[in-house]
């Protein structure tokens, strides 16, 4: 049950699959997760099953074929549910929204949460095949990733929506992994999204064709400019560049 007084509500429009894998396509560096998840929603033919309503989000609706939709929606079909945001999420709203998404996923018996995202690197334009690093919410999952040949992100900072999903999942013992591809910081990066999906396929055994992402990359970059611009403003407010910092371990 949700109450109107809650700062973040998830409004369900259809029945929610149980025991699903939950993907997160949220605006972050290079819009990697957003591009990857949007591609998977299309490939797996998922439809809208719920949306996020919150007074913390800007007063925006997205029109598709003349009809209004919430910018932050949840799609699903069969064994998958996927969050997708078509608008930048304000930095101040990231914490309550991520907490709600994790709570909701847990209530729906999600078996695994997957965050595909970017990891900004200098000179990204010199990298032909972006490397993908993995992180997990528990030791067993970390071993699974490692056994599947995913290079583990051993140290450093994660900042932003995926960092919070990982933290809340670890707290609530919800299995979660993050697959972070080397990417541009503030330019949309469909090649990095393709690399993250390939790594997802390697981990789960589910083969997803990424040729459209690679061939249509220039088109995606052109379309995603405004979204990237607004996302960058929010990333700056989140102090995203802290990911470049060296952590202090004593």
């Amino acid at each position: 049950m949700t109450s109107l007084s809650e700062p973040v509500r998830i409004v369900e429009r259809k029945s929610i699959p149980s025991n699903a894998t939950m993907l997160h396509g949220l605006p972050d560096v290079g819009l990697v997760g957003l591009i990857a998840t949007s591609h998977m929603i299309t490939q797996l033919k998922m439809g809208e099953i719920a949306y996020v309503d919150s007074e913390l989000l800007p007063p925006v609706v997205v029109l598709h074929e003349g009809l209004p939709y919430a910018p932050l929606r949840i799609f699903g079909d069969g064994g998958f549910v996927a969050t997708l945001s078509e608008a930048a999420i304000p930095a101040k709203a990231v914490q309550p929204i991520m907490r709600k998404l994790v709570e909701w996923g847990q209530a729906k018996n999600v078996r695994l949460m997957v965050s595909m995202g970017g990891m900004p690197v200098q000179d990204r334009q010199d990298i032909a095949e972006p490397k993908v690093y993995g992180a997990a919410s528990n030791q067993a999952l970390l071993k699974t990733l490692s056994d599947k040949g995913v290079e583990i992100l051993k140290g450093g900072f994660m900042v932003g929506p995926y960092a919070l999903i990982m933290r809340y999942c670890a707290e609530r013992k919800v299995p979660a992994i993050a697959l972070l591809a080397q990417s541009f910081y503030n330019y949309p990066d469909p090649e990095a999204a393709a690399a993250a999906i390939k790594e997802f396929s390697k981990v789960t055994g589910l083969n997803i064709d990424v040729s459209k992402l690679v061939k249509g990359g220039e088109e995606i970059r052109l379309r995603a400019r405004d979204m990237m611009r607004r996302t960058e403003q929010e990333l700056n407010r989140m102090k995203k560049t802290q990911e470049y910092d060296l952590p202090l371990y004593v």
Binding site: F184, Y187, E219, R221, R225, M228, R237
Partner: protein
């Protein structure tokens, strides 16, 4: 429910939030947000960033769908760099699913401010994976001997 309660903010948090909101409002008043396209000049503004390193300034711009031979980089005014490029093919609002606006775009164009003094004559450029990179050596300052 403890989790839904509003987090108690320290005085520093309140001041920081106030300053952030104030600056954001002031910036909004000073530089009204404008679209990233201009139908009159058929130009789209590319994503662009400036990085100041110890010995150079690096300006990059994302120029997808661009013919590299058409890229022009020019210093305009004392501290501004202009980047112009022609697209391989025209794009229209309709292709982006927008039917209530009319317009076609053939060019990228942006101007960016260089925050420190540079030697524009020694500028070097390269174009890789659709990203333009402009390297501008910084002007050398006066050396002071530490005694």
């Amino acid at each position: 429910m403890a989790e839904s309660k509003r987090k108690r903010l320290s005085l520093f948090d309140l001041i920081s939030d106030y300053m952030e909101d104030f600056l954001s409002e002031e910036m909004g008043r000073t530089f009204a947000e404008r679209p990233s396209w201009d139908t009159k000049s058929c130009c789209i503004e590319p994503l662009c960033s400036v990085f100041v390193a110890a010995d150079e300034v690096v300006v990059t711009a994302d120029l997808p769908n661009t013919n590299p031979d058409t890229i022009m980089v020019e210093q305009v005014g004392k501290d501004t760099l202009e980047i112009k490029a022609e697209m391989k093919r025209k794009v229209s609002f309709e292709e982006f699913g927008i039917t209530h606006r009319k317009g076609e775009f053939s060019f990228f164009r942006c101007q960016t401010r260089i925050p420190v003094a540079v030697v524009a004559k020694r500028m070097k450029t390269q174009f890789k994976r659709g990203i333009l990179e402009v390297h501008l050596p910084r002007k050398k300052g006066i050396k002071i001997k530490v005694e």
